[in-house]
């Protein structure tokens, strides 16, 4: 694995950390006071800083460091996580994301953005620390080891009293004078002495770290005196083979400062207790045996030669994970009656120990194991499974065609094959399914930015972030969603003044939600703004020549005018959402995904944009139909019902329109063959079948086809890959006979039936 690959992994992890950071900050913003949330946020920034340091990404490191310093004040309850502070922190998170992106892709982040935030963060860090007692309990023992202040930033913790944490651990007074200069500590030859107590927790070893390596690293700084303390080592029957019992008392004599010493522990500080004191603790080194007199093993002089060149074997020996009689204890606990009387006691003690452990270490639910897989590999698998599905269908069809006596074994086998293929397909699709969370999280940032630019107060509420949908869909909805969010803040919500005037809360609420509904994902963007100004929309449409002045439009029709190409109601072209791309672009990109979008609006109450998208772009449940000798597939989700028209149900309307009476309503009849140019004359409805379809915003239409062949799951094949987008056609598929069948774009056909022609040249003909 070369450096670039490692760097790539680092950036991938950065993305996860940034997401973690943002969601943590948002939780805090919503009033979450769990210290673990603060810790998570801190950890995220800290990990980014650590990794960035390893790759020499200085901009990232220095910003992350300031951020981390301020977070540390919050973490140690010296600073209250006020709304104002959280706003600054959310903006800092955005900048951190930008800096990360800049480090990855090249480019820079405006220094004014970083320097402004750095100043704000530093001001907070220097601000009034809270008395530690009144705040929530200090998180984790690590709080006793405050982050080192680096030379260029103020030491936030310096003025504050050390919090006493609840683990019973008494922090050692920590002289920050050390940071001012080495003079105070200097002994004759200009070298400083530090005493370090280093107590690893079992997590440190679990993560593949090794105390000996840390000590070896420390030895590079100067002269080392190390003593291993084994006071905590339990008797062998109590020993947890994976526990960590040893701690080290280290005397370092070095010409470096405390920072350098602390730096050695940078990657293990979360999994160990590290105390660094300036000066020598001669007493501790002097009287080792006095404390542990009854336990001869308690203090072990540490063989420094181990640090020189550590072969694998001695490293193992030095590790405190002494092999334990793992087998003996459980066996004893297992059968009390057979065991000597003292063993159940031991078992109980183990249980007690385990209980104690549980209370000390908060039980973290085991995260499901995951692996990173290159997306290309998954896609290749999905393509292959797609081929398999087609192949299976072709095989089944040829067996049916050649079937003479009805060999049940073959049929049975085929049925099983079909079931297995379907299961494989579902499982493979599930690999690609991802929660919409990352996209939703990005929207938080968009909202903040636009709110700042428009001086509006906006709160984004997200729901159903864990709703899963195919990765391609996720990737492709980000852009239209961004546009809609911008639009909602810019045009939908009013200014705080106007809102107050209207008797609303000055802060507007934007609700972004996702849910599964009948095999599709439905994403809603609801604002509590002024709603669509129908008068203005109508006036604008007349002005632009989209409708005639005397056009009689329903409210729904007017609302849907905003999806018309070239339509923009903003009086001024604003920087934010009026860049010539309007809702028509959003609508087209949603449609390109096989989705639909609609709007409902209530004057004074706000608007709701609803988009419904397929869960996957790879397969589709369709109804296979025949139209003018061509085989077409109509997406099943679009079909409300199918019916056989009676002659008496068909009514002529105007010169060429025909309506079909369905129960008590009249529904326009659309001849699919005619609209797709497969035939020039209109088919006789009585000879065919009508598919009642519902399109977003367009009401119901009855699509006339010649015959229904059946229902089938089909693999979606792109037409654009080798050709181009075909009006009225969503995509193609390959049927059991190996022929290509086209998948009908129901919305486009319905739109065309309303007089908007399918192809550009038809449009010219219609408007000219």
């Amino acid at each position: 694995m070369d450096m670039n690959e490692i760097k790539e992994i680092f950036f991938q992890e950065c993305e996860e950390q940034l997401a973690e950071l943002e969601s943590g900050l948002l939780r805090l913003n919503d009033g979450d006071t769990d210290p673990e949330t603060v810790n998570a946020v801190f950890r995220a920034v800290h990990s980014i800083k650590g990794g960035a340091g390893a790759f020499g990404l200085d901009d990232l490191v220095s910003f992350a460091h300031v951020f981390e310093t301020t977070l540390d004040c919050v973490r140690s309850n010296k600073l209250e996580a006020s709304q104002d502070l959280l706003k600054v922190m959310l903006r800092s998170a955005d900048v951190l994301a930008d800096l990360t992106a800049a480090s990855r892709d090249g480019g820079t982040v405006e220094s004014s953005r970083t320097s402004g935030l750095v100043a704000e963060l530093e001001a907070y860090a220097k601000g009034q620390p809270l008395p530690s007692a009144s705040a929530a309990p200090a998180p984790a023992p690590a709080a006793a080891a405050p982050e080192p202040a680096q030379a260029e930033t103020p030491a936030p913790a310096a003025e504050a009293p050390e919090p006493t944490d609840d683990s019973g651990f008494q922090p050692v007074p920590f002289s920050f004078d050390a940071l001012d200069g080495d003079d105070d500590l200097a002994i004759e030859d200009g070298r400083s002495v530090f005493t370090v107590r280093f107590k690893p927790r079992s997590d440190l070893y679990a993560k593949g770290n090794e105390s000996v390596l840390i000590l070896r690293e420390l030895a590079k700084l100067g002269d080392l005196q190390v003593r291993c303390e084994a006071d905590d080592l339990p008797s062998i029957d109590m020993l947890d083979p994976e526990g960590a019992y040893f701690s080290w008392l280290i005397r370092v004599e070095t010409d470096q400062d405390e920072e350098a010493v602390r730096h050695v522990f940078e990657f293990v500080e979360w999994d160990s207790t590290v105390e660094i004191t300036a000066g020598a603790d001669e007493e501790a080194f002097a009287a080792p045996d006095a404390q542990g007199g009854d336990q001869p093993m308690a203090a072990v002089p540490f063989d420094l030669s181990l640090l020189e060149d550590v072969p694998a074997v001695s490293a193992e020996a030095a590790a405190p994970e002494a092999p334990a009689p793992a087998a003996a204890a459980p066996a004893a606990a297992g059968d009390e009656s057979m065991a000597p009387p003292n063993l159940p006691l031991a078992a109980k003690a183990i249980a007690a120990e385990a209980e104690k452990k549980e209370t000390v270490v908060p039980a973290v639910p085991a995260a499901p194991q995951t692996i990173r897989v290159d997306l290309d590999r998954v896609d290749r698998l999905i393509n292959l499974v797609g081929e398999l599905v087609i192949n299976q269908a072709m095989l089944a069809q040829s067996v049916v065609e050649n079937e003479s006596g009805g060999s049940s074994a073959v049929n049975l086998g085929l049925e099983e094959l079909q079931q297995l293929t379907r299961e494989i397909q579902d499982s493979v699709m599930a690999i690609r399914a991802q929660p919409v969370k990352p996209v939703f999280q990005r929207m938080g940032r968009i909202v903040r930015e636009i709110a700042d630019m428009t001086a509006k107060q906006v709160r984004l509420v997200t729901e159903g972030e864990n709703t899963e949908v195919d990765k391609t869909v996720i990737d492709k909805i980000a852009e239209p969603l961004t546009h809609m969010i911008r639009n909602a803040v810019d045009h939908g919500l009013e200014t705080p003044e106007k809102r107050t005037e209207a008797g609303k809360n000055a802060e507007g609420v934007l609700r972004l939600s996702a849910k599964h509904r009948s095999g599709r994902i439905v994403i809603e963007i609801a604002d509590d703004g002024a709603g669509i100004n129908r008068e203005r929309v109508k006036a604008k449409a007349i002005e632009n020549g989209l409708i005639t002045a005397d056009a009689n439009l329903s409210d729904e029709d007017i609302d849907n005018l905003i999806f018309h190409p070239g339509f923009s109601t903003a009086d001024k072209i604003s920087d934010i959402s009026g860049r010539g791309v309007g809702m028509d672009v959003v609508k087209r990109s949603i449609q390109a995904l096989g989705g639909r979008i609609s709007i409902t609006s209530k004057p004074g109450k706000g608007s709701v944009f609803t988009m419904s998208l397929p869960l996957t772009l790879a397969v589709l449940d369709g109804m296979v139909v025949t139209v003018a000798n061509q085989t077409l597939v109509v997406p099943l989700t679009a079909i409300v019902e199918t019916l056989q028209p009676e002659k008496s149900d068909i009514h002529s309307f105007g010169p060429s329109q025909r309506l079909i009476a369905i129960r008590d309503t009249f529904c326009p009849l659309v001849d699919v063959g005619n609209i797709l140019n497969f035939r020039s004359d209109l088919a006789n409805p009585v000879d065919g079948v009508a598919l009642l379809v519902e399109s977003e915003g367009g009401g119901q239409r009855a699509l006339m086809v010649d015959a229904i062949q059946g229902q089938r799951q089909v693999v979606i094949k792109s037409l654009e890959a080798n050709y181009t987008n075909v009006p009225g056609i969503a995509a193609a598929t390959i049927l059991g006979d190996g022929r290509v069948a086209l998948i009908l774009d129901v919305d486009a056909v319905v739109t065309a039936s309303r007089g908007q022609p399918l192809s550009p040249d038809m449009m010219l003909a219609a408007t000219g």
Binding site: L719, A721, T724, P727, A732, I734
Partner: protein
Amino acid sequence: MRISDNDMLELIAFTLGDQEFCVEVISVREIRSWTPATILPHSPDHVRGVINLRGVVMPIMDLSLRLGMAASEPTQEHVIIVTRIGEQTIGLLVDSVSDIFTVATDSIQPAPDVSRSVDRELIRGMIPMDDRMICFVELHALFETLESEAA
């Protein structure tokens, strides 16, 4: 005079009616017999539709019609030359494949400035071969125009 490999072109010749044409072999993936295509609505006449090429949906272009000649009436004898440029694969419907040959680039003559019916952008030049004349079709131009026309 020695001619280096760089100056040589390997071409595949085919017939459309009584005329001979050729394209570069390097862009040809395979030659397969005609199978009925699925008609695409609202497409130019020379796009005969799409067929299934081992799971890939490939458009078929009637090259004769595209070059301004009569539309083909495909039979079992007709063949499809599968060509690929970049990421795009297109099948060319032709009467039959006649030859594979190599020519020096400097033997290609510019197309004469006579006809309005043949889109001259599609013709890279003329190649004299014994007493035959083979028209060299520029595939890149063919691919580019397919997309712009269809849109």
